[in-house]
């Protein structure tokens, strides 16, 4: 293979696996240890542009994937498939939140760190997907994990958008948000087949409404994306749409795919810079809640679901559920995002950020458990070589 071919393949891999985010995280960690003052000056200067403007695009891409998966023809359309994953997702959140509170209750920092309970509840959709897919390949466990993560993050979005205000809420902003939604509906009923009017008009109004209303404008496109007309079928989670897909939802993804990766790089760079001395109670609380509370909550919820008459999807047993539960304990970028909404500048924010970053360990735990339980690619029924 030529050098150009190798570079192209590496670039393709980096885009497909959202590699730019961990690269940004590593760059931030190196920079902050080397020269903390210059790093924090940069991160404060870039914070608003990245966290409240750029991340609106990333959250829009994630919402697009969710909209497609849940729509008619989507992989997760059927309620029959959804029910257990919804129960498991809710159970994971409850488990994470209760563990977070229980950990803090044992000490004396519940009062200051308590508002951070949604941090370990978040699931990094992309990382969860890549880890579970890496373990299971083409297996129903991947769809199950994906829906579990989506349900969790939908609930998480609602909690974060409504709970953490950055300024005094203006009632008139609610009216402006209503105008934004009505604009999106009007565009849809007028059969507008381009993405940009939805983004520029409805999205713009929504952004201003959230900013004005004291809510976080990073979520501006989340209520708008469901109104974009989309293809009658889902091309798969985080998969490239084919060239013939000209619907506004896929047009949006094609247009913003690469800019979103730039945003993700800067998101990692701006938010992940933590001094290692910043480790504290908040780090332990987030980590314990993500790596222990969340999986335990999922397993208990699934057990309750089965007792209530729900069924796990075909080919998924308890061993697969255990691996999925730990694979979905990765909060990473989503937890970082929630952390920046939950706490302002200060040592508490640094503590919980460290916990959010270390929730990546969930991937390692899931891999080890998959090997121990012999599921997915570690299953003895899968042949790995020739006779």
């Amino acid at each position: 293979m030529s050098l150009m071919g190798i570079v192209k393949r590496a670039f393709r891999f980096a885009i497909d696996h959202y590699v730019v985010l961990p690269v940004g995280v590593i760059a931030a960690l190196v920079w902050v240890q080397a020269d903390a003052e210059s790093f924090f000056r940069f991160s404060h200067a870039a914070s608003f542009a990245v966290n409240e403007v750029g991340m609106a695009l990333f959250l829009a891409v994630m919402t697009k994937e969710v909209v497609e998966a849940l729509s008619a023809g989507g992989a997760l359309h059927s309620w029959r498939h959804r029910s257990m994953a919804i129960v498991a997702g809710a159970g994971g959140m409850i488990g994470a939140a209760l563990t977070y509170f229980a950990y803090l209750k044992a000490g004396d920092e519940l009062s200051v760190l308590g508002p951070g309970w949604p941090i370990p509840c978040a699931v990094d959709l992309a990382f969860c997907y890549f880890v579970v897919k890496g373990i299971f390949g083409r297996h129903p466990a991947v769809s199950f994990a994906l829906l579990l993560a989506i349900v969790t993050d939908i609930l998480e979005f609602l909690i974060v958008a409504l709970r953490y205000t950055v300024a005094d809420v203006h009632a008139s902003a609610v009216a402006l948000m209503a105008v934004a939604i009505l604009a999106a509906i009007a565009l849809r009923t007028s059969r507008v087949r381009r993405a940009w009017p939805y983004i520029a008009i409805a999205g713009g109004l929504s952004w201003v409404a959230l900013f004005w209303g004291g809510l976080h404008p990073a979520f501006a496109l989340v209520p708008v994306m469901p109104f974009l007309p989309h293809a009658p079928r889902d091309y798969g989670f985080l998969a490239d749409p084919p060239p013939e897909a000209h619907d506004p939802l896929n047009e949006f993804e094609r247009t913003w795919k690469y800019p979103v990766h730039i945003v993700l790089f800067f998101f990692g760079l701006v938010n992940a810079g933590v001094l290692l001395q910043g480790w504290g109670t908040g780090s332990w609380a987030v980590l314990t809640a993500a790596l222990a509370g969340r999986p335990l909550g999922i397993l208990l919820a699934v057990a309750c679901g089965i007792a209530a008459g729900l069924h796990l999807p075909g080919r998924i047993g308890w061993r697969e559920v255990v691996v999925v539960a730990f694979g979905s304990s990765i909060g990473f970028a989503f937890s970082l995002l929630v952390a920046t909404q939950a706490f302002s500048i200060g040592p508490l924010l640094i503590e919980v950020k460290i916990g959010a970053l270390l929730s990546l360990c969930g991937a390692f735990v899931a891999l080890v458990l998959a090997a121990i339980l012999r599921v997915g690619k570690f299953s003895p029924s899968i042949s790995h070589g020739s006779a």
């Binding site: 009062s111 200051v112 001094l275 109670t281 200060g346 040592p347 508490l348």
Partner: protein, 281 residues
Amino acid sequence: MRRSVTVLLAVVLGVCQLLAQNRRLPNAANSVKFAVIGDNGTGDRPEYEVGAQMARARASFAFDTVLMLGDNMYGSQEPADFVKKFQQPYKALLDAGVQFFATLGNHDNQLNRYYRPFNMGGERFYTFAKRNVRFFVLDSDSLDPKQMAWLEEVLKSSTDEWKICYFHHPLYSDGGKHGSAVELRVVLEPLFVRYGVAVVFSGHEHFYERLNPQKGIYYFIEGAGGQLRRGNIVRSEFKAAGFDQDQSFMLVEITGADLFFQTISRTGLTVDSGSIHRGGL
């Protein structure tokens, strides 16, 4: 007879300790006098001993104010704990009408700002003045935009001769456990420099440290009012003086353009002292 001997011994001991404290402050009439404690609210014996030492100091240096630098209460913070961890250790001072002005640390329940003897007026951040000195009390747990806007406004509008800030987390520290809160420094220090803050007190590190002036501002850490992290000060270019072998508290006196300070250990030894002239060394 036996009682008389006991009283006599107590008096002699008190005099000896006063001599040991070896006052280094001018003790001028009409000066602003205050004490500084941090990370004190353990309810354990060292906190009581520091409280007793403060009461002894007040016998010859009549401060009327105590700055509390956060972590005013550790562990359980029920009504009985306020008695054990605050009212009893500082009973002599409270009975004498000394006012405590607290800031919140990471171990403090946020609701403690409503505890009347802490004089926070229910606010996470507030300001108060004593003659020519204005104190700005911040909540460094979380520097939200609202607090930053407030701080800039009050610093800008203050015409007081001395501007002193205090909050829990130190912007500069040689502590091996926590170290400097660099992110807070990047946000706060430009305001301090712009609006002429002269002195900053913080806690969080469980020792006493005086740092070399940074951008013209004098930084002190006093986080050993009850807690102690023995031997935790790491040598660096920041440190001017430090004491991490015992609990301690500070006495401060401001007269005109001069600030005098003296740091006293739990056993009454003076471990640091000096003066600062506003507008220069």
